[in-house]
Amino acid sequence: MKKLSQADTPLHAALEDHKLERMAHFDVPGHKGGRGNKELKYFLGEDTLKIDVNSMKPLDNLCHPVSVIKDAQQLAAEAFGAKEAFFIVNGTTAAVQAMIMATCKAGDKVIMPRNVHRSAINALVVCGAIPVYVNPGTNKKLGIPLGMTLADVKHAMEKHPDAKAIMVNNPTYYGICSDLKQIVSLAHANGMKVLVDEAHGTHFYFGENMPISAMAAGADMAAVSMHKTGGSLTQSSLLLCGQEVNTDYVRQIINLTQTTSGSYLLMVSLDLARKNLSLNGKEMFRKTVAFAEYAREEINKLGGYYAFSKELEDGDAVYAFDTTKLSIHTRDIGLAGIEVYDLLRDDYSIQIEFGDIGNILAIVSAGDRNLEIERLISALSEIKRLYSKDPTGMFDHEYINPQVVMPPQKAFYANKISKEIYKSEGYICGEFVMCYPPGIPILAPGELITKEILNYIAYAKEKGCVLTGTQDMEIAHIQVVSDKM
């Protein structure tokens, strides 16, 4: 057998062959190439439905890959500099959960910054591990959480030498990276694994002059959202493993919760995206950075807005900034980020990634054109002209240091009562409250509900943030642990 190269796409090739087979199907899916659901076939296209198939001998099996999926995963591992790569079809959420569950058991401690994605804390609820939060610190002006400082990491490791792992965002949603290489050295010296949430960092593996990637930094595992900046379909993702990881055990952990009907549409998109990144990634991300830099320059010229970048780097809490991210601080024009987000969509037909209290984030990619970039800049110029107001009295602080008073799993499964949210001060939270996106919890199970947090929730609601997570769809009531502190 010839040795595969990055120009090959083994899973894609197998599906191309399959399309020509004209096989009679007496297996699932029941739509049988779309014949059983004509409207869906018309909407998605016949070619798409023809490859929406179940695992079969020539197409391998995601749960136990031995042929084309195995080859495609190996090529992905090679492209990302990993020992092994797993195709994940349950979203990066599943990859993050697999990292934690493969490393921690009930009662084990894991060090993490509080601004982790909800999927990480969800994993703690499922497996019973206990979080040791490191305060990521906040940039006061921008109101955004930063990276972890080495001093804080060291302190947490000294205080909790029994922790099994440390989790790191690389980068955060806003594009901020911690000193990953040093964190890896510290963790490994203390016998801890390093788990990296690279949901927003696919491009670190392929672009030039990017912050260091998890695998290059020597981390043990990384969850990479290929669908975010890598070009694969939504919900497809990769779990990367470093040299010291028992990957057969990781596969077992993945199979505890991942579907046994892995979508070939998602998997083939990973295969093709990996090839594209390997062959064209440098150029793609050069173009992305050029777009983002141009937009930053023009937006900063408008005045009032602050599109921030590498000037935030301080060698510590902002060890590196990802220049593909177009994050814009809006508070100085008197508008919350979420208000600018809503105006862009409702009045200007421009959909951006998210708006929070003080900032908006626009995702820029090689798929953009000058035209769209000019539209965004011009719309921001108009929003400033038409809607800017005096910023005094606006909320300027986002990070609230949580007080974890009970392990998340224990709080989630405790006897709970429903309280009116604004009368819940002093109770232990039994569920999540978060703004989505970015999906970083404001409150997680096991945390003390304080006045400060309730004020923040009220403000976020008033400004139009979409709050999620509670049983009550209106977020008027919250489940709390019955026994008050």
Partner: protein
């Protein structure tokens, strides 16, 4: 041998024009540019396969986009023309001696070069010393201008392709900012007849009306455009398109026209009921 240029006007309707020969065909950074010699319409310019102008009927478009605002605004000195790479709008504007300065912003230099070479009927005026050409994105150019112009003419292609940004609310808002306190904006406003064009027309109207206190449309008859029933938008900060129409001044200017006249100026703003409804629902 028969050679035909065909343009689909909808998925189910197309216009075909018999071609004598193809004079020019190039791919620019933005679009494919073709110029044909035809028997019926003279030379024909197409961009990405969409017909932009023919020598036979371009006078209708260019007279109506220019003389209507010129007959309303009493003292146009500085004009911004966006798009208009063929030069037809410029040709009409430079007939007014009191216009002092014309900025022309066209994204695609190759269109201008091709028209200069093959379509002197429209492009000859581009070399007038009052005309200053900027080869850049219209949206970007207008963003940097503040109360600079008496008149802005958006002589754009379609709301898809390189001209897409010229149909957006952010563009019209930036035009408002770039106009003086009594400025007028004229834009290519699509057609109400076929449903896709009608949607574009509604969207453009909605976006303009969000920025300008006075937002009207006026019609003209363009034989080679889909349905032949086509519109321009008249948006203004101060002047009303009919009440402020100065018939005497227009007549004294002594500009001869083939399509436009004083009665037609007023009539063009009286629009069919289905178009009124369409705009009311925008």
């Amino acid at each position: 041998m028969e050679l035909w240029f065909s343009e689909p006007h909808t998925k189910n309707v197309k216009l075909s024009i018999k071609v004598e020969k193809q004079l020019y065909s190039e791919q620019s950074k933005y679009q494919r540019i073709d110029i044909f010699q035809t028997t019926e319409f003279g030379k024909v310019l197409t961009l990405d396969g969409y017909l932009m102008l023919t020598e036979k009927d371009e006078f209708i478009y260019h007279e109506m986009i220019t003389h209507v605002p010129m007959a309303v605004h009493p003292h146009v000195k500085k004009v911004l023309v966006i798009g208009a790479g063929d030069g037809g709008t410029i040709r009409e504007l430079i007939r007014y001696p009191y216009i002092e300065h014309i900025d022309m912003v066209e994204i695609d230099e190759m269109v201008v070069d091709a028209c200069k070479e093959y379509l002197p009927q429209t492009a000859a005026g581009i070399t007038d010393p009052r005309v200053h050409i900027f080869y850049t994105d219209g949206l970007k150019f207008v963003r940097t201008q503040h109360e600079a112009y008496d008149l802005i003419i958006v002589d754009s292609t379609d709301p898809f392709g390189p001209g897409e940004g010229l149909f957006t609310r952010e563009f019209y808002g930036n035009c408002f900012k770039a106009l003086k306190e009594d400025g007028i904006l004229i834009n290519q406003h699509e057609s109400p007849f076929y449903s896709e064009d009608a949607k574009s027309m509604q969207r453009a109207h909605r976006n303009i009306a969000a920025s300008f206190p006075i937002a009207w449309v006026y019609q003209f008859h363009m034989p080679t455009y889909p349905s032949g029933h086509w519109f321009f938008g008249f948006a203004s900060k101060k002047y009303h398109p009919i009440d402020d129409f100065d018939e005497e001044r227009w007549k004294n200017a002594n500009i001869s026209t083939k399509y436009y006249n004083a009665k037609l100026h007023k009539g063009a703003f009286y629009i069919p009921n289905y178009v009124k409804e369409l705009l009311a629902d925008a």
